[in-house]
């Protein structure tokens, strides 16, 4: 399910030009606004450190599957958070462990700037940490 959404995001981004990607991200941000992320979850403990705008992530494990929710103050980052949590929720521990940096790189097309690309990589690592999995690294020789 999550993989289908991931493919959908990646293929959409690949099909769009830069300006359209920007609009796409803002549409995703509006969808993210409609998801449930109560203010009491916006704690320092849930805050990702080092981001230019604040990003909160929460994690829940249900029936052996990992579910993530996220929020941000900035619209474009909200769109990126939306892609990440939608793409990588509903996975088993093994599937979370297998998410690679290259998987995120396909979504990087939405990040538009290098700094936000770095932020997305940090989000992946946070997701893997929250799921109790080792974080993705560059393949040897890459």
């Amino acid at each position: 399910m999550a993989r289908a959404e991931y493919e959908d995001f990646a293929e959409t981004l690949e099909a769009l030009d830069d300006d359209m990607r920007f609009e796409f991200l803002l549409d995703l941000a509006k969808k993210q606004d409609a998801t449930d992320f109560p203010d009491e979850w916006k704690t320092d403990a849930n805050l990702m450190h080092g981001c230019m705008s604040k990003v909160w992530l929460v994690h829940e494990k249900k029936d052996g599957l990992h579910w993530f929710k996220g929020a941000s103050e900035a619209a474009i980052v909200k769109g990126l958070v939306h892609m990440m949590v939608q793409s990588f929720s509903g996975l088993t521990s093994e599937e979370v462990r297998e998410i690679s940096l290259d998987d995120v790189r396909r979504l990087n097309l939405g990040a538009l700037t290098f700094q936000r690309q770095v932020g997305m990589m940090a989000m992946l690592k946070q997701i893997q940490k929250m799921a109790g999995q080792p974080v993705a690294r560059e393949a040897a020789g890459a």
Binding site: D19, F22, A74, A75, I76, T113
Partner: protein, 417 residues
């Protein structure tokens, strides 16, 4: 380097198109749109005069300074020391020996905090900074406070970004030993009345340091007229190269200070029984300095002098006023920093929009601004904001570019609302 001054010096009119032609990067496009560079407050672009001077040094003259027994070393040492002399004249220092080359302003302030602070300040002594300081003029004093028990006091800033000299004066007392204040706020553009600050500080028996990173770009600085004890600025904001800053200090004070960094070039005699040190400025320049960068700074100062500060100030004042007028016409616009005496540094927020989103839309329109807390988190806390978008306007910016900025902000409002 000959300090030739063309007939455009002393003019109050700046030919902005001619200036723009001197900066190769300004003809670049980003995302297929003409670059509108409004991030000079972070680091300014470089005119070809600076690029050429640095290239010439590396292609024809380069060698280490102060130690070689050969032609190139002598020539480079000569050029390096001429750069120091040019900086001295730029600041109207009494002597080139009062000019220390550092990596940047941060290093200049840290040098004073270490070498002066640890030698002459003791527990209970007070250092005054202001609420609108860059972190570079806060953290070194906090480190000094932790190490020595010196007390840090903070001069307030008004809601509009003004600096009130009377409120600053209230903090002065017989425990005040050092005042370290920005000459021009990097966020608000507020100009601080340096001469008055120095007079009041001296009346209280304190020394005074100014962070001139922004100020030297926008107008002439005369350290003797101000009566500054220390003054720091950096080359890369003054259209020169990165990696080189300047600390001015009064010679008697500098020579009373112990060294900060130890190493080559700063010693008089070294033995395992102990070492003795050169006088200023070399006492504070351990190791190989930024040689090509100093030559680049010399060219940058010549360039600015050639345009003339009268012309630069008039041009930038026109841009500042036009930017305030144009941006104020945008619904939801909130200008941050509207002090009566301010440089062309325009910080703003748009109601309901996150500054990062606004800056992202501006970027897509080719407009380069800075966004965030601008290394001034205490000021953000004071103003109750998370950050700003900042457009800094330089000698090469135009009113047409401010229109592009205004249209890009309007586009951001439409897209993000």
């Amino acid at each position: 380097m000959a300090d030739t001054v063309s007939d455009r010096a002393n003019s109050t009119v700046l030919d902005v198109e001619a200036v723009r032609r001197d900066f190769p990067i300004l003809s670049e496009t980003v995302y297929g749109k003409p670059l509108v560079f409004m991030d000079s407050g972070a680091s300014a672009q470089k005119p070809r005069q600076v690029i050429d001077a640095m290239r010439h040094c590396m292609e024809h003259q380069y060698s280490n300074v102060h130690r070689g027994a050969h032609y190139l070393s002598a020539a480079t040492t000569d050029a390096f020391e001429q750069a120091r002399d040019r900086v001295a004249r730029f600041l109207n220092a009494a002597s080139p020996d009062e000019i220390i080359f550092t990596p940047n302003v941060t290093a200049a302030i840290n040098l004073v905090a270490h070498a002066y602070g640890r030698a002459f300040l003791k527990e209970g002594d007070e250092v005054i900074v202001s609420e609108m300081e860059h972190h570079a003029n806060i953290v070194p004093w906090q480190l000094l406070a932790e190490a020595t028990g010196v007390v840090l006091r903070v001069a307030p800033v008004e809601d509009d970004g003004s600096f009130r000299i009377d409120r600053f004066a209230e903090l002065l007392n017989d425990r005040t030993k050092l005042v370290s204040i920005t000459h021009c706020s990097n966020v608000l553009g507020t100009n601080v009345p340096a001469k008055e600050v120095a007079r009041l500080a001296h009346d209280a028996g304190a020394k005074v340091l100014f962070d001139g990173a922004q100020a030297v770009v926008h107008g002439p600085v005369d350290v003797q007229d101000i009566d500054a004890d220390f003054y720091g600025f950096t080359a890369h904001k003054l259209y020169g190269p990165s990696g080189l800053g300047v600390l001015y200090g009064k010679l008697d004070i500098l020579n009373s200070m112990p060294p900060f960094l130890g190493g080559g070039d700063m010693i008089d005699k070294v033995s395992f029984k102990g070492s003795t040190f050169k006088e200023a400025p070399h006492r504070f320049e351990a190791g190989t300095p930024a040689i090509v960068e100093a030559i680049g700074l010399h060219a940058a100062i010549n360039y600015v002098a050639d345009i003339g500060f009268d012309a630069i100030r008039a041009h930038e004042a026109g841009l500042r006023d036009y930017a305030h007028e144009r941006l104020s016409a945008i619904e939801g616009m909130r200008l941050i920093g509207t002090a009566p005496d301010k440089a062309a540094i325009i910080s703003f927020l748009v109601d309901g929009l996150h500054p990062y989103d606004v800056a992202a839309v501006l970027d897509r329109q080719g407009v380069a601004c800075r966004v965030g807390h601008h290394c001034a988190e205490p000021l953000m806390d004071r103003l109750g904001i998370i950050g700003t978008v900042r457009a800094t306007l330089a000698m090469y910016n135009t009113k047409a570019e401010i229109d592009v900025l205004g249209e890009a902000i309007e586009k951001a409002r439409k897209m993000l609302s």
